[in-house]
Symmetry: C2
Subunit: 350 residues, 2 copies
């Protein structure tokens, strides 16, 4: 997390923080209900090359006796989270959680009223927060993600994820997951796949809700993490979250996270940015049938449109390689009939 | 691994290495076939308090509507490996693997003929190896567990585990797994549990065979690990095993490894030494019904007998706490009808 944030320039931070607080022109239109037919496991996907490639791949690896058959235990599929399973604009939602946590914790920290970047954040002065630079954002992350037990942090995430609203759409963040991806997860599981998240986001931030929202249990969530330390408190063991980085599960860190936690190579991987490129390469470099999918955010009407010019979510290398190697590229605008779930609190099939 | 080995005294090492090479008095008698009855999921367990406590626990947490019911996703059971699922005498088997790897790699390392501790090891002079102390053993571990890709290491483990024999029993190491524990694993899984290994041993050492032998897939193996690094070699990504420690999954490290990889607290935990105590404490400290089991190696005839006086596998704290808190204590001698599987290559039910 911290090294990731360090990559941001101060200019980027300013743009990002300013955007995070703008409530103008919500770009997201109300979701369209997906038309479901019994025969189609992917009703929110338009017929086209992307949908066909996924269905063909699943058909090939599950056809017993066929040349591309893969036994069920080897059917591992990994999904990036930010921008692949849910939105990531104006900033990865975990950063908004961190900002809200500062506000929630402020009564216990009177010194924050005069200490930057906390003072600016508490006054709603996002330009001031941005002015504190990387050091300031790192201080916010450290203050909100470390120095508490894993149980305390999990409770804070649960409270936030069930109440906080997106600054532009006014929806719960768990309502900004992609309906077509929920269907892809369910479709893969129905075909014997084990589905994993492999995200640059914090593992302890995703686990409290990933099972309810995505049907992905905690043990199948791989993410960035801080070091943990066991302590005895009044005879009871607790795990304390330390500020030191344990794994940055992004770029080169994704295959490392996959090997560390899953211990075998995925045969299918889904991403949307340069942070996912090494995971897609890792999946594709194995023997036998392989599948890589790259999401292109080109739908300014129903979601957000961003690509080469985007300062925060870098995209170029991943996109170029996906196109050059003929990986499956999803145009959100053209390939997805629906973007967000119709219900107010999506509960996907497990 | 390395910090673990560092704890050993030179005297201990000498004892250990000497014992590892002794081929006298095999203590293991031929396995007795287990009597299987359709009604009994644990046929190799004698009726008694230990068996009853496990069956009672499983009954309580699976009885829907009962006061102790636990939903299936929360039914997480963790098992230590060395001394809990398979034997660990005369030394943890992974150390024998390391010694054999030195011999296998020697042709590529002519300098080892004159460099300690390799020179002593290659001459079969275990006293000489022990004389090189902790530094020597660490050099052996580094030379055999780092500096290669994960795929290369996995292939080396596979080759060894399917051919190498125990110095005293002459059996494959995978034939020295405990039949009653194979039954406990299958029994828990049949009751909706997800079973995990949580071992001080190396995660990359266990994964190549844990699925075949225990029915535990790689993603459910937690263990000690070295750091990994992604490299591109001729356009193909590989993961290289580095000599630096990533996680020592022993003692305080076990709850850390559990949280890092599983992300929820087990409701049942199985161990046999001080290295498992914190895992057992962590499992027992959660809310609701809990189960902790501690194996006592008291069967010199069928396996090995060791406890308080043992220099290598420390036992005292774990044993004392298990007794004081009324955890389930297994006497291998009295509670197990059979110790090892009857077949030559055990393939447990999945």
């Amino acid at each position: 997390m911290s090294r990731c944030l360090r990559r941001w320039s101060v200019v980027t931070l300013w743009l990002v923080l300013a955007a995070a607080c703008s409530r103008e022109s919500p770009p997201v239109s109300p979701p369209t209900p997906a038309s479901v037919t019994a025969a189609d496991p992917l009703p929110s996907w338009n017929d086209g090359a992307a949908k066909k490639s996924l269905v063909d791949f699943v058909g090939r690896v599950t056809r017993e006796g066929g040349p591309d058959f893969v036994t069920a235990p080897e059917r591992i599929a990994t999904f990036d989270n930010d921008g692949t399973l849910w939105s990531e604009k104006p900033v990865p939602f975990q950063l908004l959680f961190a900002f809200d946590r500062v506000k929630a914790l402020a009564p216990q920290h009177p010194e924050w009223n005069t200490k930057e970047p906390f003072a600016s954040l508490l006054k709603g002065d996002m330009a001031g927060v941005a002015g504190s630079g990387e050091k300031g954002v790192l201080a916010i992350v450290a203050a909100t993600h470390a120095g508490m037990t894993t149980d305390e942090f999990s409770a804070a995430v649960h409270e936030w994820i069930t109440t906080a609203k997106h600054p532009q759409t006014g929806r719960l963040f768990t309502e900004m997951v992609y309906q077509p991806m929920l269907e892809a997860l369910a479709y893969l599981r129905a075909n014997g796949f084990k589905t994993f998240i492999v995200s640059g986001g914090g593992v302890e931030f995703m686990r409290p809700w990933a099972e309810r929202v995505y049907g992905i249990p905690p043990e199948q969530v791989v993410g960035s993490s801080g070091k943990l330390q066991l302590e005895m408190r009044n005879g009871t063991p607790v795990l304390v979250k330390l500020a030191a980085l344990d794994l940055l599960d992004d770029k080169e860190g994704k295959p490392v996270g996959i090997q560390r936690q899953i211990g075998r190579r995925p045969i299918a991987a889904f991403g949307n940015s340069d942070g996912d490129l090494q995971m897609l390469q890792w999946a594709m470099a194995g023997a036998g049938a392989r599948f890589a999918l790259f999401v292109h955010h080109d739908d300014a009407t129903r979601e957000f449109a961003y690509d080469r010019t985007d300062k925060l979510q870098q995209f170029n290398q991943g996109w170029d390689e996906a196109v050059a190697k003929g990986w499956t590229v999803v145009s959100m605008k053209n390939d997805w009939k629906t973007v967000f779930p119709a219900g107010s609190d999506p509960r996907p099939q497990r």
